[in-house]
């Protein structure tokens, strides 16, 4: 079996031209690039060392020296957000990747086969779904030991049923369409039809779900870090910072405000990016905007 994925130059140029005209793509791309840049810069330089505790500076409000203020150990919050970006993004992205990589094939396969296979796969899915994700993640990290890598795997596993369901629901809506019937009449098998006709038509759905899962991933990592099973101190992560700030909301609101904003901005950027990509990939929007 061969797959022709034609991406003629004219085609690619058209997509690029469309990307440049699409505002939500540009905004999303800019924000995401900024966050990624911050995370990369943190490897080489941060305003202050995030591992040095200076108790004398504890819980200071935003100032010229510490733009975003300091935490209860006197660490610079801006620096912590920069370093935390690495962990949060990495954990959430890889977890979404695992969820999509396994969930989408499972879901589309279930939709394509139908009958018993579908039923069995989806009930298995329900089984995973039935456990509170965070509790099970705690279990997994408790067995395999705490740390960022195990947190990623744990969160990723619980993304699988989410994507499997979305992919299956989307695929089920595509299968009864006449163009699928036409493809079958042309002698194409289930796998080929799924790759050529079903996936391209549900990609929008998956991208949107992906941005939601990414945000949830950041929060899940925060939860795991909170109970001490995710990112290990002294490495900061956005979620950890939020939870540290929780008890000091009144005394030092900036400790919660800035990491919270970092999460919100990142999620917004990814949402815009997802919307933009969905628009660009849709041939019907080619002449608009």
């Amino acid at each position: 079996m061969t797959l022709h994925i034609d991406m003629s130059e004219e085609n690619l140029a058209g997509i690029l031209a469309k990307a440049f005209r699409n505002r939500s793509f540009l905004a999303g791309f800019a924000i995401t690039a900024l966050v990624a840049a911050v995370a990369i810069v943190s490897f080489f330089w941060t305003p202050f060392d995030v591992t040095r505790l200076i108790i004398a500076n504890k819980t200071q409000g935003p100032s010229l020296a510490h733009w975003f203020g300091t935490d209860h150990f006197g660490r610079d919050i801006l620096s912590m957000i920069m370093v935390g970006a690495r962990n949060s993004i990495a954990v959430a992205l890889v977890a979404v990747g695992i969820g999509m990589g396994i969930g989408v094939p499972l879901g589309t396969f279930a939709a394509a086969r139908g009958g018993f296979v579908d039923e069995a796969l989806m009930r298995l899915n329900d089984l995973v779904f039935a456990f509170p994700a965070l509790l099970s993640a705690i279990m997994i990290t408790a067995i395999f030991g705490p740390g960022a890598v195990n947190a990623i795997i744990a969160i990723g596993i619980f993304n699988i049923p989410v994507f499997a369901r979305v992919a299956r629901a989307g695929a089920l809506a595509i299968w009864p369409r006449e163009f699928i019937l036409a493809a079958r009449a042309a002698g194409k098998g289930r796998t080929l039809i799924t790759l050529e006709h079903v996936l391209p038509n549900i990609v929008t759905l998956l991208l949107v779900q992906g941005t939601i899962q990414f945000a949830l991933g950041i929060l899940a990592e925060a939860g795991l870090s909170y109970v001490g099973l995710g990112t290990q101190p002294p490495m900061p992560s956005w979620g950890r910072m939020l939870f540290d700030a929780q008890t000091r909301m009144v005394a030092a609101p900036w400790m919660a405000l800035f990491p919270g904003m970092a999460i919100a901005v990142t999620v917004l950027g990814l949402n815009l990016l997802g919307d933009g990509i969905a628009d660009i990939l849709d041939p019907k929007s080619r002449r608009q905007r």
Binding site: A185, G187, R286
Partner: protein
């Protein structure tokens, strides 16, 4: 009064303007006067009082015009209660009477029925009951029968005619079907591109056909493609042979382990088609035509019986074993919008069946074959790099045909290939089918409920009723002298422009 025109000519917009239900983006100028009220100047409150009370509306799609979570009684009573401030029981009484009037007696159709429990024709009756509940002065019917088969169409038109006469209502009938309008309307207005082409007395307008566009429309509705007379049949083996095929669908699950009795969609059907022969399969909706077509195409397996194609059994074969057969049979679907993947370009869509060729063609060969197929159906090879949404309905149906003939099949199954198209486009597509039949010697199995189509391009007709084939014979023979009940019903119900005009002229003396 009848309003006729092709799709996009502004028929529905005219009706919506009268109702002040236009989408926000549209702006109306000019005057619409109803019963002395200038409708365009009326406020939303005034319009709410008018709509439903003095002006009723019947929509095209009975499947979506009713609210699925409300009973039919509630929906009919709703308007009565709103406009007359009648009590619930009072309104329900009137709703009951109205439903009796439209042919839904209380024994079988209590007010507590939900729309999904009704068939399409019954739903359209409910929609009419809602529209006529308050005896409006004007009834607007926007393609009220387009989604129904001919027999139902005749019944619904009868009902509308009766209601209009009883209550002395005005009727604004919107349709693309000249025959329907001729049967129903005293005056006719022909629209094109939002402009009135011709207006006047129905019989005179259509018999004199002064305006060229009127003539064009009338000719297109009666169009019969030029075809060489039936070829010598019976030479050699039949191309397709269907032997006592039956298809059951499992009944609904009534409890965890029990199922209702299976539903028999196709019941002991046998027939054959010779090479190059064009056969029509006609019948009312739900009679099993499409199920039979899917089995012929090996997209669905029969419960019993065998289907032979080119002498080989194709039932119960795996997809890989079917590949050689697939090369020689293709399909054209009814809906020119739904039968193309919106995310792929024409080149890829039309080339889809090439997949079954023994040796997959190279990219250049593929482009050449697509270009040739596009040329054959009257499209330009330059259209190859477009997406399906850039084409009109008729052009898409051409694409669909291009896709069907690219492998040079010997049998094409066409499932209502022209029922979604305007009359003039329909005439062109029928011509194309006829031409390809002559040129490439393709045999057709035409599935349709439209006898005009069957008459236009087929040699033989099979009439299907409740899963069985009840009559088979030469096309003109069956259509002119139907023997079975089902065939007689179909022929009697089919609207015919000639007959309708003649009758109108006669009435006027």
């Amino acid at each position: 009064m009848g309003l006729v025109g092709e799709s996009g000519s502004g028929k529905s917009i005219t009706a919506l303007t009268v109702m002040q239900l236009l989408p926000w983006a549209a702006r109306a100028t000019g005057r619409v006067t109803f019963d002395g009220i200038d409708i365009l100047a009326a406020s939303e409150d005034q319009m709410c009082a008018l709509r439903g009370d003095d002006i009723g509306m019947v929509f095209q799609e009975p499947m979506t015009a009713l609210n699925p979570v409300k009973t039919i009684g509630e929906q009919v009573a709703e308007g009565i209660r709103w406009h007359t401030k009648a009590s619930r029981s009072n309104a329900e009484d009137r709703a009951r009477k109205m439903l009796d009037r439209v042919g839904l007696p209380s024994a079988q159709f209590p007010l507590s029925r939900y729309p999904h429990e009704l068939s399409g024709g019954q739903r359209q009756r409910v929609v009419i009951a809602i529209a006529c509940a308050l005896k409006p002065k004007l009834l607007i019917a926007d393609e009220p029968t387009t989604a129904l088969d001919v027999v139902l169409q005749a019944q619904i038109l009868d009902l509308l005619r009766g209601l209009v006469a009883e209550n002395r209502m005005g009727l604004l009938l919107i349709s693309h079907d000249l025959a329907v309008v001729t049967e129903m309307a005293d005056r006719i207005t022909i629209l094109r591109h939002g402009e009135v082409m011709e207006a006047g007395d129905t019989a005179r307008t259509l018999s004199e056909q002064l305006h060229p566009y009127t003539r064009q429309l009338a000719q297109a509705s009666m169009h019969v493609p030029a075809r060489a007379s039936t070829k010598e049949i019976g030479q050699g083996k039949p191309l397709l042979q269907v032997d006592s095929v039956t298809r059951d669908y499992p009944g609904r699950r009534t409890s965890l382990l029990k199922r209702a009795a299976p539903i028999r969609a196709v019941d002991d059907v046998s027939f054959s088609i010779d090479p190059g022969q064009s056969v029509a399969l006609v019948g009312r909706s739900g009679c099993g035509k499409s199920t039979l077509a899917r089995m012929v195409l090996a997209l669905d397996g029969p419960s019993s019986g065998t289907i032979r194609f080119r002498g080989e059994v194709i039932t119960g074969k795996s997809e890989a074993e079917l590949r050689p057969a697939r090369r020689d049979m293709q399909v054209v679907f009814q809906d020119p919008y739904g039968s193309f993947d919106p995310r792929q370009k024409v080149e890829k869509l039309v080339a889809e069946p090439l997949h079954v060729l023994e040796k997959e063609p190279t990219s250049a060969e593929r482009r050449e074959m697509v270009a040739k197929a596009l040329h054959e159906v009257g499209l330009s090879p330059r259209d190859m790099d477009k997406y399906p949404h850039e084409f009109s309905g008729g052009q898409r149906q051409r694409l669909s045909i291009a896709r069907a003939i690219i492998t040079r099949p010997r049998l094409v199954v066409a499932d209502e290939p022209v029922s979604a198209l305007d009359v003039s486009i329909r005439a062109q597509i029928l011509d194309l089918f006829a031409e390809l039949n002559q040129k490439l010697g393709i045999a057709y199995l035409f599935i349709t409920h439209d006898l005009t189509v069957a008459r236009a391009i087929t040699d033989q007709v099979m009439v299907m009723h409740d899963g069985r084939i009840v009559e088979r014979g030469g096309t003109s023979e069956v259509l002119d002298h139907p023997q079975s009940e089902a065939a007689k019903a179909l022929v009697a119900a089919a609207p015919d422009l000639h007959r309708a005009i003649a009758r109108r002229l006669q009435e006027q003396g």
